[in-house]
Symmetry: C2
């Protein structure tokens, strides 16, 4: 087995740490995924880490941990991953590259997974247009995947898809959903060509979301938490959606609102 | 105008700071609410602060701020609030009692609002049974209010209803929804007497949530993020609900799952 890395100056450790910055993630086209569950999802979906960091003292020895380590070893031996670096590190080194106060003991550098093709079937495209809170965007990814969305795109005004807090909230959804980040409206127009309706989720909307038809090719645009959707998005929308709210509530959390709408789409599509 | 409080040892400031601890909140039956929007919601719903802290340098002078200050002055002069203390404080003092890195410049000590009667109409009761993440519970409050739930109860295993992160995510919903915290199952049984169905939100459920009837008196129990609902809850449930998930997703975030279910209830109740 390899010796344990104790130095914070190890080049691979330094690379992982640099990926907390968007600029460095963009340059490397890579990001860090932490924890047994998120990494298991990634590897299960076919992702091949560039490097893996293991701090045995933090990892524990549950069944999920064992399964993950076996899967990593197999993917390493199978071919393209055979040059994957596996670094045993001290808890201190793990903490230096973790975004959490209590790291789980395993983390990896993974390439951007933006090559998953859109899911087959009637398009249900989600566009995050200026969503700023990383927890909201991550939850939207997980929710969009569960509701059967076929692809998710983000505009340049949106928080980075590979921000560590987005990655944590998405719980592995990055690897199972067709994604593109930083997409401008010209490119989005091409993606939206086949859509019968483009709906905007907005607190000021008029079209009851349950009365909209979600069974044909459709897109949903989710805007900024405070300002709603952008003028560019607005001019592309068939209409803005309304979710009727009781209790004099002005709006729902952005991730909750998109979940309510996307699962109405899923309900209609089940027929 | 009063002089500006500069000392972190001011007794009212110390009281506010102590309310970051659950034990102290329980003893005082009071908690701290921060920010213009949440406080406006509270005052708009009739809450009367015991004390208000204002740091002018942080507050800014938007329209919402002005409206809130007028409303606070009026509620103070109107009667029961006339002994309300208003303290101008330095930014440093405000930061000492704030849970956020960038406090908005206004905060207040408010009494527990557990006297709002359940909303009239067909009961739709939400029980949080072991929800541990404060952001999830706060979002559940906001969502339950918006979906027309008539009351929300928490079991002793649930994160404290007045935890500052719960309060922040709920965005004022504490003051518009009938609430009871720390309720044991004997007391809950009495609250549930009139319910035709008691559904459990659980990743392992079998009853399709859209096929359940939400138009009669109903309760929804939401369990712990990892372990699901407790055995005590399970034995009271008519059945556990299933939300069909695509993308090999195992579960949704707890707040998202309850939102999806509660807005299906709202949809059915609109007829």
């Amino acid at each position: 087995m390899v010796t344990t890395v104790t130095s914070l100056d190890n080049p691979t450790v330094k690379l992982a740490r640099s990926l907390s910055k968007r600029r460095d993630r963009q340059r490397e086209r890579a990001f860090v995924v932490e924890g047994v569950r998120a990494l298991s999802e990634a590897v299960g979906a076919g992702a091949i880490p560039r490097a893996i960091f293991i701090a045995r003292e933090l990892l524990g020895d549950g069944e999920a941990q064992e399964r993950l380590l076996v899967a990593l070893t197999e993917s390493r031996e199978a071919g393209p991953g055979r040059h994957m670096r596996v670094l045993e590190v001290t808890p201190q080194v793990m903490k230096s590259l973790s975004e959490t106060d209590a790291p789980q003991g395993i983390a990896a550098i993974l390439p951007f997974p933006e090559s998953t093709p859109p899911k087959a079937g009637t398009p249900l495209i989600v566009i995050a247009d200026g969503v700023r809170d990383p927890g909201n965007l991550g939850t939207m990814l997980r929710t969009a995947l569960g509701a059967g969305a076929t692809a998710l795109y983000t505009t340049p005004e949106t928080v980075d898809l590979y921000n560590p807090k987005v990655v944590r909230a998405a719980m592995g959804a990055h690897f199972r959903l067709a994604l593109r980040s930083n997409v401008g409206w010209d490119a989005l127009d091409e993606e939206l060509i086949g859509c019968d309706s483009i709906w905007g989720a907005d607190a000021g909307g008029e079209q009851l979301y349950t009365a909209a038809d979600w069974t044909t090719p459709t897109a949903l645009i989710v805007g900024n938490e405070d300002r709603g959707i952008s003028p560019e998005a607005r001019e592309r929308c068939t209409d803005l959606l309304a979710i009727p709210l009781a209790g004099e509530l002005e709006s729902l959390n952005a991730a909750v609102a998109s979940a309510v709408i996307l699962f109405e789409a899923a309900r209609q599509r089940r027929g």
